[in-house]
C-alpha cells in the first residue's frame, strides 16, 4: 500500500514539475485583455467587436483582446461578482450599466480611471454621457471617474410623420399638443402613443424632467419622487388614457412589442431607446421622425441610458495599462463613430461628428443626427445607493397608479417616504 502511494506521489510531483517547466514559455505570450460584454440590442454586436479586436491586435502585437459574451447586463455583473468571490480569473474590462456604478464600487469590483485619463480626453465626451460616471466613494470631496462612456442611448420619441402630415398635424412641441395629436390619431386599430411601462423609471424621467425637475440630482443618496414636476408627469400618463384615450389604459405596453407595433402602423408615436432605431427604420415604410420628448410647456427632455467601460479591480498594472490603451483606441472619435454607425448606439465623442464617416452616415440616415440632437436635453439617469430597492419602490407605486389603485400625488408621496427610509442609512 505504502509503495503504491509512493508511486502516485512521484507521478504527481513529476506532473507538477512538468507544468512548471512549461510555464515560463507562456511569459512570452501577449498581454491578455479580456472584456466581458453584454448584448441588449438587435445588431451583430459580436461580429463587430471581434472585428475591432482583430484590427487592434494587428497594430499591437503584444496585446491579445478577448471579448467574452456573457448574456445581458445583469449576467455580466453577476458573472463578474461571482468570479471575484470564487477567486476565479477575472477580466480586465467589463461593459456594465452606467447606473450600476455605486453597487460595483461598493462591492470593490471596479477601479477608477483617473490615473489614465487626461482632461483633454474627457472634455471631448458629450457631458451627458459622463453624468453617471463619477462616485466620491472615499468622501474626500473629489469624485473619481469609474466608467468611460461606450454603448450609450437616450429615450427617443419616434413619430410616424407620414401619418401626422396626412392628418394635418405637425411634430408636437408640448404636452398639450402631444396629447391632442395622439388622441386624434387613435383609431380602432391604432394607438396614438405607446409608452412602454414595464420598466417605468426610464420612460418616466423624460416627463419629470420635462415638467421641470429630474427624479435624481448629482447626489447618490437623494431622490425627488414627490415633487410637483413628478406628480404632474405621472398625472399626464394617466390623462393620456383617461382624458385623451390616446394610449392603452393601465399597465399595458411592453418594452419588446412597441417598436414592432410602431413599424407596422399600429401606433402613431412611441417612446423607445435609440437602440431600436436601426430595426424601426428598416421595417417602417413611412417617414419616421425622431426627437427628444416634448416638455410640458415646450422645450424637450430625455434621459441617458446604456453601458460604460469599467476597469475591473485587481487588474495588474501592466494589464491595466494595456486595457487603457485599448479603451483609448476604442473610444477614439473614429472608433466611436464606427461603433455608432454599426451598432445603433449614439456617438460618445463630440469631435466624431466632424468626421466624414459620420457626415456620410447622417446623409443616409438623417434621423441619426436628430438622435444626437436629442442628447442636449438629456438628464442624469436614475441611480442612487441601494438602487435595486429604491427603483423597485418607485416602480411599484407607478404601477399602482396605472392600475387605478392610487392617485399620482399619494403614490409618489409614499414612494418618497419609503425611498427616504432606505436611503437614510447612508446619511
Amino acid at each position: 500500500m505504502k509503495a503504491r502511494l509512493g508511486v502516485v506521489l512521484t507521478l504527481v510531483v513529476a506532473l507538477l514539475a512538468g507544468a512548471v517547466a512549461v510555464a515560463p514559455a507562456s511569459a512570452q505570450d501577449p498581454i491578455k485583455v479580456e472584456v466581458y460584454f453584454p448584448i441588449s440590442v438587435d445588431s451583430p454586436i459580436t461580429d463587430i467587436l471581434n472585428g475591432y479586436a482583430e484590427t487592434y491586435e494587428a497594430d499591437h502585437p503584444g496585446v491579445d483582446i478577448v471579448f467574452s459574451y456573457e448574456g445581458g447586463y445583469g449576467d455580466v455583473k453577476n458573472k463578474l461578482l461571482t468570479t471575484m468571490e470564487g477567486g476565479g480569473e477575472l477580466p480586465a474590462l467589463a461593459i456594465m450599466l452606467a447606473t450600476d456604478i455605486y453597487d460595483l464600487r461598493n462591492a470593490e469590483a471596479i477601479m477608477p480611471w483617473d490615473d489614465f485619463v487626461s482632461e483633454e480626453y474627457l472634455s471631448d465626451f458629450f457631458p451627458s454621457w459622463l453624468a453617471n460616471s463619477y462616485y466620491d466613494y472615499d468622501l474626500d470631496g473629489t469624485p473619481e471617474l469609474y466608467s468611460i462612456p461606450f454603448q450609450r442611448s437616450v429615450v427617443l420619441m419616434y413619430t410616424n410623420m407620414t401619418l401626422l402630415e396626412e392628418n394635418g398635424f405637425e411634430l408636437p412641441t408640448n404636452w398639450q399638443e402631444l396629447a391632442e395629436t395622439a388622441s386624434a390619431l387613435t383609431t380602432e386599430d391604432r394607438w396614438g402613443i405607446l409608452i412602454p411601462n414595464s420598466w417605468p423609471y426610464w420612460m418616466f424621467q423624460p416627463f419629470a424632467i420635462g415638467a421641470g425637475q429630474n427624479i435624481v440630482s448629482e447626489s447618490d443618496t437623494e431622490v425627488f419622487f414627490d415633487t410637483p414636476a413628478a406628480v404632474e408627469a405621472l398625472q399626464f400618463w394617466v390623462d393620456l388614457y383617461e382624458k385623451y384615450n390616446a394610449t392603452p389604459a393601465g399597465v399595458q405596453s411592453n418594452w419588446g412589442d412597441a417598436p414592432g407595433l410602431f413599424a407596422d402602423g399600429s401606433a402613431a408615436m412611441i417612446l423607445h431607446s435609440t437602440g431600436s432605431m436601426p430595426s424601426i427604420l428598416s421595417k417602417a415604410d413611412f417617414d419616421v421622425a425622431v426627437s427628444a420628448v416634448p416638455g410640458k410647456d415646450g422645450g424637450f427632455a430625455t434621459v441617458t441610458g446604456g453601458g460604460n467601460l469599467y476597469l475591473v479591480a485587481g487588474t495588474d498594472e501592466e494589464t491595466a495599462q494595456a486595457a487603457w490603451e485599448f479603451v483609448e483606441w476604442l473610444t477614439s472619435p473614429e472608433m466611436a463613430v464606427d461603433w455608432s454607425i454599426n451598432s445603433g448606439y449614439l456617438p460618445t465623442r463630440m469631435s466624431g461628428l466632424e468626421l466624414d464617416a459620420w457626415k456620410a452616415h447622417v446623409e443616409e440616415v438623417p434621423q441619426a443626427a436628430d438622435a444626437v440632437d436629442a442628447l442636449q436635453y438629456a438628464g442624469r439617469e436614475f441611480s442612487v445607493q441601494s438602487l435595486g430597492d429604491v427603483r423597485n419602490i418607485l416602480h411599484g407605486y407607478i404601477l399602482k397608479v396605472l392600475n387605478g389603485e392610487m392617485s399620482p400625488a399619494d403614490a409618489l408621496a409614499a414612494a418618497q417616504a419609503e425611498a427616504d427610509d432606505v436611503l437614510s442609512v447612508f446619511k
Partner: protein, 330 residues
C-alpha cells in the same frame, strides 16, 4: 435460549468484525462524497451564514447603524459587513412591520397561493386526462403524446411560448379571452394583478401531463376483477370511479401530491422568463426572492435566511409525507 450458549458466543469485537463488509461502504463513498459536497456541506454553510449580515454592494465606511434589523443594537459598523447578527433575519421575518418582514410575508402569501392553485388543479387535470386516455382506441398513442408533450419542453421554452401567448394586442390568450367578452388588462405578465396567475397557468399546463403519466400507470395496474365484480353488482360509472378507482389510486395521489408540492416550491425558470419585468413583487415566489436578494440586491444574509426557511418548509413537507405514507402502510 440457555445460558451456556451465551458463553460460547464469540467475543463482541469478533462478531462486529464478521459483520463488517467493507465493499458496500466503498461503493457508497462516491455518492456520500457528492451528497456531502452538494447537499450536506451547503446546508450547514447556509445555516451558519444565515446569521451573518453581508451586503457587499453597500459602502465599507463605518457609521452608526442598526443595519435595519430588529434586535440588533445600534453601533458604529460598516453597512457592508460581514457582521454576526444571530437570528435577526428570522426575527424580522416574524415581524411584518419591518421592511424585511413585510416583504417576506408577501412572498410567502404569493408562494402559498401558487402552491394551493397549481397543485390541486394540475392533479385534477392529470387524473381526468389519465382516465380519458386509459382506453384502447386507434390513435390513443398520439393523444397520450399530445398530453405529455408540454412535459418534454424545458420550462424556459414553455415560458417563452406562453410569453408570446400573453402578449397584448395579438397574443393568442388575449384573442381567446376577447372572444368570451374579456376587456380587462391585456399584458398579463407585467400587470401586478395578473402576473402571478400567468405563472400559475403556465405551471398547470406544464405539469398536468407529467402527473398524468403516474395516474395512467396507476390506472393500468388496477386489478380488472374488482371492476367485473362491481359491474355484476350493478355499480355505475360514478360509483366505480369514487368507490374503487380513487381509493385504489390513493398511493399514486399521495406520491403525485408530494412531488407536485415540492416541485411548486422549486420552480423559478418561468418566473425568470415571464414576470421578470414586473419588479414590484406581486408575483415573487420564494425561490425567485432568494435569487433576487442574492444576485440583484446582494443581501447575502437575507438570501441565506430565506434559503434556510425554504429548506425547513421542504423538510417538514417531506417528513409529513413520510409519516402519512407509513401510517397508510401499517
Amino acid at each position: 435460549m440457555s445460558t451456556p450458549s451465551a458463553v460460547l458466543k464469540p467475543p463482541r469485537w469478533k462478531s462486529w468484525r464478521a459483520h463488517l463488509h467493507p465493499l458496500p461502504y466503498v461503493l457508497l463513498l462516491p455518492t456520500v462524497f457528492f451528497v456531502y459536497l452538494f447537499t450536506i456541506n451547503p446546508t450547514f454553510r447556509v445555516l451558519r451564514d444565515s446569521q451573518i449580515y453581508y451586503h457587499p454592494n453597500l459602502p465599507a465606511r463605518p457609521k452608526m447603524t442598526d443595519l435595519g434589523l430588529p434586535g440588533v443594537p445600534e453601533e458604529v459598523r460598516t453597512l457592508r459587513g460581514p457582521h454576526n447578527v444571530g437570528l435577526a433575519y428570522f426575527r424580522a421575518f416574524l415581524d411584518p412591520s419591518t421592511r424585511i418582514g413585510a416583504r417576506f410575508w408577501r412572498v410567502m402569501k404569493n408562494t402559498l397561493l401558487y402552491v394551493v392553485t397549481t397543485v390541486p388543479v394540475s392533479m385534477l387535470l392529470a387524473f381526468i386526462f389519465a382516465v380519458l386516455l386509459n382506453r384502447t382506441v386507434r390513435g390513443i398513442g398520439w393523444a397520450r403524446m399530445a398530453f405529455f408533450y408540454p412535459t418534454m419542453l424545458p420550462m424556459v421554452s414553455a415560458a417563452t411560448i406562453w410569453l408570446f401567448f400573453f402578449t397584448p394586442e395579438y397574443g393568442l390568450w388575449n384573442l381567446m379571452l376577447e372572444k368570451f367578452g374579456y376587456t380587462g388588462p391585456q399584458n398579463w405578465v407585467i400587470n401586478p394583478k395578473l402576473a402571478l396567475w400567468s405563472l400559475v397557468i403556465v405551471a398547470i399546463w406544464k405539469n398536468a401531463g407529467y402527473f398524468m403519466i403516474f395516474y395512467l400507470a396507476g390506472l393500468q395496474n388496477l386489478p380488472t376483477d374488482v371492476y367485473e365484480a362491481a359491474e355484476l353488482d350493478g355499480a355505475g360509472w360514478w360509483s366505480q370511479m369514487f368507490r374503487i378507482t380513487l381509493p385504489l389510486l390513493h398511493r399514486t395521489t399521495l406520491f403525485v401530491s408530494v412531488i407536485a408540492i415540492i416541485g411548486a416550491f422549486q420552480t423559478i425558470d418561468h418566473a425568470l422568463v415571464l414576470t421578470r419585468e414586473l419588479v414590484t413583487g406581486e408575483a415573487d415566489l420564494l425561490l425567485y426572492e432568494i435569487y433576487w436578494q442574492r444576485f440583484e440586491n446582494a443581501d447575502y444574509g437575507l438570501a441565506n435566511a430565506l434559503t434556510v426557511t425554504m429548506i425547513a418548509i421542504l423538510l417538514v413537507l417531506t417528513m409529513l409525507n413520510f409519516l402519512i405514507s407509513e401510517r397508510n402502510n401499517a
